[in-house]
Amino acid sequence: MVTQYAFFFDASACTGCKACQIACKDRNDLETGLLWRRVYEVAGGGWEKRGEVWVPSVVAYNISMACNHCEKPVCAYACPVKAIGKRDDGLVLVETARCIGCRYCEWACPYNALRFDARTNTVSKCHFCFEDLDRGEPPACVPACPMRALDFGDLAELRKKYGDTQQVFPLPEPSQAEPALVIKPHRDSAQAAARAAEVANWEEL
């Protein structure tokens, strides 16, 4: 039995095509501007002089990120009306009917996963396509990826399969919320901070 569902993301394979983002919007009928899964384009560096030669030092990679259904769901801890709960299988879900729309959880989430839905005047976020999951089908974003950069499953199993990396630049310290997330880093991510990389597509996010 799954005790903590989790996502795996292979940053070394992601091309930034955003098919996962669109599949999520399509599956969940999200309005324009509302994204439950987002693809961050991380870019930095430029040219650096080595001896007499100028060489490119560009870092560029993508991070596909949704709610990480954290083991320590700080959004649920922050919610004053207990509108956010955690299921036995680890999924963190918003109970829209209880939400008062104070948006405090948006500040509390270090992954910026909670998004305000103007249609319901409540917060919303990735629910791991739990209805599909309960029918034995995968979350919409996973099969949509043409590079197979996304996977899902029990956190312990994913760690056995892919390792236990949970943080690459510019993700926050995992200790803040203990995300149910496993990442295969892109080779550039180790140099990203040193080369002053930053998210390059805020206007899309």
Binding site: C102, Y104, P170
Partner: protein, 283 residues
């Protein structure tokens, strides 16, 4: 940034209420010479009613940032974990304590030992309210809030506005001016000024890049930062003039109440600028 106006209004009004309660109440209930006698004669229980009105206004203003205000009554259900629930509880407790003391004053039993005890209970509730309000924003996910500047600036807002309020009330009695409260307000303003300067790089006001994260960069506003500093400085200069002329009767002491109202307005405007800047950092 403007979307947080109700939280700006709520926090500043709540902090003003706590400041007035503490700074007017301490001289009244624990006697501070002439100041205590003057306040006790003219402002008991008026200041308590003022605090109650401010707390009611703060509560009403806070509701405006909710998108489902009709469900707001549920906000106390997560006291075990949520600082927002705890803030609302401490606000209600503070208001209840002030309300009970007000009733006692109206019944004429506020001057007894019971009044002192109730005042202390209310003071502790007010301080708890300020503390929970600060803790609410000290989120690891928002690094610019998760530091000692947050409680420091909230308590300073309360102290400076409270000291300005009591200085104004005492000035209505004519000379001598309330030197200790004027000095206290100036010290608080200097501390607020320094705190604002220290925070400027954290808020990205001087073009300092914030720490990378998945949260969009905050809206550092040089205008709001400069406005806060200028308004604090203007208020501090007027306070210093009143303090310098406080010993002798003359044009300054005659106009002191009007000057202190101007100080209160300037400092409040400075606090509003600073609070909008604060909320702009949330991303």
């Amino acid at each position: 940034m403007g979307g947080e106006w109700s939280l700006v209004a709520f926090t500043i009004t709540g902090q003003l209420a706590a400041g007035i309660y503490l700074f007017v109440g301490i001289p009244i209930y624990f006697g501070l010479g002439d100041a205590g006698a003057w306040l006790e004669g003219g402002w008991r229980p008026g200041f308590l009613l003022t605090v109650l009105v401010l707390l009611t206004a703060a509560t009403a203003l806070s509701v405006f940032h909710l998108h489902h205000p009709a469900k707001a009554y549920r906000t106390l259900v997560n006291l075990g974990r949520s600082w927002l629930s705890r803030e609302i509880l401490s606000l209600l407790f503070f208001a209840a304590a002030v309300g009970v003391l007000t009733v006692c004053e109206m019944l004429g039993i506020g001057g007894s030992g019971l009044g002192k005890v109730l005042f202390v209970v209310g003071a502790l509730a007010g301080l708890t309210f300020l503390l929970t309000m600060s803790k609410l924003y000290m989120l690891p996910s928002v690094p610019s809030w998760n530091q000692v500047h947050t409680p420091l600036s909230f308590f300073l807002t309360s102290a400076v506005l409270g000291a300005c309020a009591v200085a104004f009330l005492l000035s209505l009695g004519g000379p001598p001016m309330p030197r200790p409260f004027l000095a206290l307000a100036i010290c608080g303003l200097v501390a607020s000024f320094l705190n604002a300067i220290l925070l400027a790089p954290v808020y990205g006001v001087f073009g300092v890049k914030p720490r990378p994260s998945l949260r969009p960069p905050g809206a550092g506003s040089a205008f709001l930062h400069a406005a806060r500093l200028l308004l604090f400085a203007a208020g501090g200069v007027i306070l210093a003039v009143v303090l310098a002329a406080s010993e002798v009767s003359g044009p300054v002491t005659e106009r002191a109440p009007a000057m202190l109202v101007a100080v209160f307005a300037l400092v409040t405007a400075g606090e509003v600028s600073g609070r909008f800047l604060f909320y702009g950092q949330s991303g």
